[in-house]
């Protein structure tokens, strides 16, 4: 089979659809989906070659939100990059903060007090709830359930954002972690509010699942669609719920045991088929486990300082060295690779973006499926463009 290579940017500007003649298969259709498309989760673009409605080739095109995070990170101080990490994966600012703070703490050999570690776990799990809830809403939006599940998801999201706002002062861009602890302590009544939210979240999930999990349309659209094998997933560097939906038990909270995760009792849900439905189900089950972690953490959180007294905020210059550090973000392994030359700025500041690397397998998942399924598969991969392009 031969067809002309889709060269995305040299195509005639404005022409988003053109026919490619192929003597064996009739006319193949080359479609440019994105960067402005309602279901590409932002400004993602894919060049799709279609035989009828079937995808025969799919090449993602990136860079429409490349806002030079790494270059700016090399020209600003270590602490100055913290607010920029909020804007990487803008749904999950707390886990981005934690990943970066942990990397710098490893680079400088900085300890963190116990209460701060508990707060970090609580915030990370709240972020996971927020992300997975919104993902299910967006996935259903991509299936054509216009509005309703997303309305439920955003209702719960607002409750979690209220917690973040009362803690950090900002709804989305929290900028909360510091090297050696957290910026401010939880205000009075905050932990009680978090407990109330955690206790009520289970019943919300019951309601949500009653709508979705057994839904015939959802099952028809997702079961057996976009199957990912464990071998390909590991080789392609896929991480997070996608990897676990493919049946690979690799959760950094268990493997690396960073923070205080070894203290908590939780299970790692695994998928059996690796299809889109498994990816949805693994996230729902992960939310249930997150609630368990939250209940334990909110029960055990000790009083005490939230910043290490030896932590240095002004004039922070780590000794020359290098570190790669990673945590389990809601979308997968988010890592930071920092090289210090002893100056106030990192010499090299690199973000390992889970969303970008998870997209490696997009073409493999979509081949042979219809174009409508490609949208659903993309929705189940869970990308945020701020992180894909940085």
């Amino acid at each position: 089979m031969s067809f002309s290579d889709p060269s995305p940017l040299s195509a005639a500007p404005g022409a988003s659809v053109r026919a490619v003649h192929d003597e064996f298969h009739g006319d193949l259709l080359e479609v440019s989906m994105g960067p402005h498309h309602p279901s590409t989760h932002g400004v993602f673009r894919m060049m799709v070659t279609l035989d009828g409605e079937t995808v025969v080739k799919l090449k993602p095109v990136f860079g429409y939100l490349h806002r030079n995070h790494e270059k700016i990170g090399e020209n600003t101080s270590y602490l100055g990059s913290m607010p920029y990490t909020d804007r990487l994966d803008y749904l999950c600012s707390m886990t981005n903060n934690w990943a970066y703070a942990l990397a710098v703490e490893k680079l400088a050999g900085q300890a963190v007090p116990e209460r701060a570690e508990y707060l970090r776990v609580i915030l990370a799990e709240l972020t996971r709830l927020l992300n997975h809830t919104c993902l299910a809403g967006f996935l259903l939006q991509d299936c054509g359930a216009s509005g309703t599940p997303l309305m439920y998801a955003f209702r719960e999201r607002e409750k979690i954002l209220d917690l973040f706002e009362s803690l950090s002062g900002s709804r989305m861009m929290c900028n909360y972690q510091r090297f050696g602890g957290c910026r401010v302590d939880a205000p009075a009544g905050w932990l009680d509010a978090a407990r109330a939210l955690t206790d009520g979240y289970g019943s919300f999930l019951d309601e949500y699942e009653a709508l979705l999990t057994g839904n015939e349309i959802l099952m028809a659209r997702t079961q057996g669609i976009g199957c990912l094998s464990a071998k390909l997933a590991v080789s392609a560097g896929v991480t997070g719920p996608l990897l676990r939906a493919a049946g690979v038990a690799y959760d950094l909270r268990k493997v690396d045991g960073y923070g205080f995760y070894p203290r908590f009792d939780f299970r790692v849900p695994l998928g059996a088929h690796g299809d889109t439905y498994d990816r949805y189900m693994v996230r729902v089950l992960e939310m249930r486990e997150s609630i368990r972690i939250l209940q334990q953490a909110l029960r055990d959180i000790p009083a005490g300082p939230i910043m290490d007294p030896k932590a240095k905020l002004r004039g922070f210059r780590p000794k020359p060295g290098e570190v790669y550090s990673r945590i389990e973000g809601p979308k997968g392994e988010i890592g930071f690779h920092l090289i210090s030359e002893g100056g106030p700025n990192p010499y090299r500041y690199r973000v390992r973006p889970p969303s970008l690397i998870n997209l490696t397998i997009l073409e493999d998942l979509c081949l042979g499926h219809s174009i409508a399924d490609a949208v659903v598969i993309l929705g189940s991969i869970d990308i945020v463009l701020g992180e894909v392009d940085r």
């Binding site: 060269s7 940017l9 040299s10 990136f62 860079g63 490349h66 030079n68 790494e70 270059k71 490893k106 680079l107 400088a108 050999g109 390909l232 590991v234 080789s235 392609a236 560097g237 896929v238 690979v248 690799y250 493997v255 780590p318 000794k319 020359p320 060295g321 290098e322 570190v323 790669y324 550090s325 990673r326 392994e333 890592g335 690779h337 090289i339 210090s340 010499y347 090299r348 690199r350 390992r352 970008l356 690397i357 997209l359 490696t360 392009d389």
Partner: protein, 221 residues
């Protein structure tokens, strides 16, 4: 897991003649790395992936690093013993040496099967201008596909054997490699109310201080 020393020794016995050296990391993280020669990098990478003791099946992260040419000042002390038996004469000599720059690619490897890591590999190009080719490790780990494209785009390292080496973040006609340290970005700043450093210099260039207006005094009638 084996220490990087042991891995290096095992690699040297398995690949005699290959250049593998250990680069130590002075920081508290102590993630030491292995510097490989470009010629046998892919064979070594395949070995690391398939070796039953290591099984580094997961390439987590690929980073490009730019090291420009640097001038290094070395101080050498030579002491000449005094023939008369007095204290030795110490002469300090400072020599300047130009350390040639290179582009470096760093791979962080983990094992999903054995749950260990990281093993850090480094590859270096010959220089920063015309010898910028390195073997692609995408045939070994597919996870490198987009990340190597990114290093090609932002640093200009050409990966030989990459299935689809195109620019990934910038557009195709773009000529520069913006993450290099000597990249000059387009000058489209605006004046800022509290400028400092580079921004102030740019602002002054854009909006030069106007020459004091010369007001002619008209003779009073």
């Amino acid at each position: 897991m084996e220490t990087p020393d042991q891995i290096r020794d095992r690699l040297l016995s398995r690949f005699p003649g290959a250049a593998v050296s250990l680069i130590s990391n002075p920081g508290p993280a102590a993630q030491h790395s292995l510097l490989l020669d470009a010629a046998d990098a892919r064979a070594i990478a395949t070995f690391l992936r398939d070796d039953p003791g290591l099984q580094l099946d997961f390439c987590s992260n690929v980073t490009g690093v730019d090291w420009p040419d640097r001038e290094i000042v070395e101080t050498t002390r030579t002491s000449t013993p005094d023939p008369a038996g007095g204290p030795a004469k110490v002469v300090e000599q400072k020599t300047k040496r130009l350390q040639p720059g290179c582009l470096e690619v760093v791979y962080h490897l983990y094992s999903v099967a054995l749950l260990h890591g990281p093993v850090v590999l480094r590859l270096r190009t010959g220089n920063r201008s015309d010898q910028v080719s390195l073997p692609s490790l995408t045939p070994v780990w597919r996870a490198c596909e987009f990340q190597e494209r990114e290093v090609f785009d932002l640093f200009g390292v050409v990966f030989e054997g990459h299935p689809d080496l195109r620019r990934i973040l910038m557009w195709d006609g773009f000529k520069d490699h913006p993450m290099r340290k000597d990249y000059v970005e387009p000058d489209d700043y605006e004046w800022e109310p509290t400028p400092h450093g580079d921004v102030l210099a740019k602002a002054k260039r854009h909006y030069p201080t106007p020459a004091p207006a010369v007001v002619k005094e008209e003779p009073k009638p």
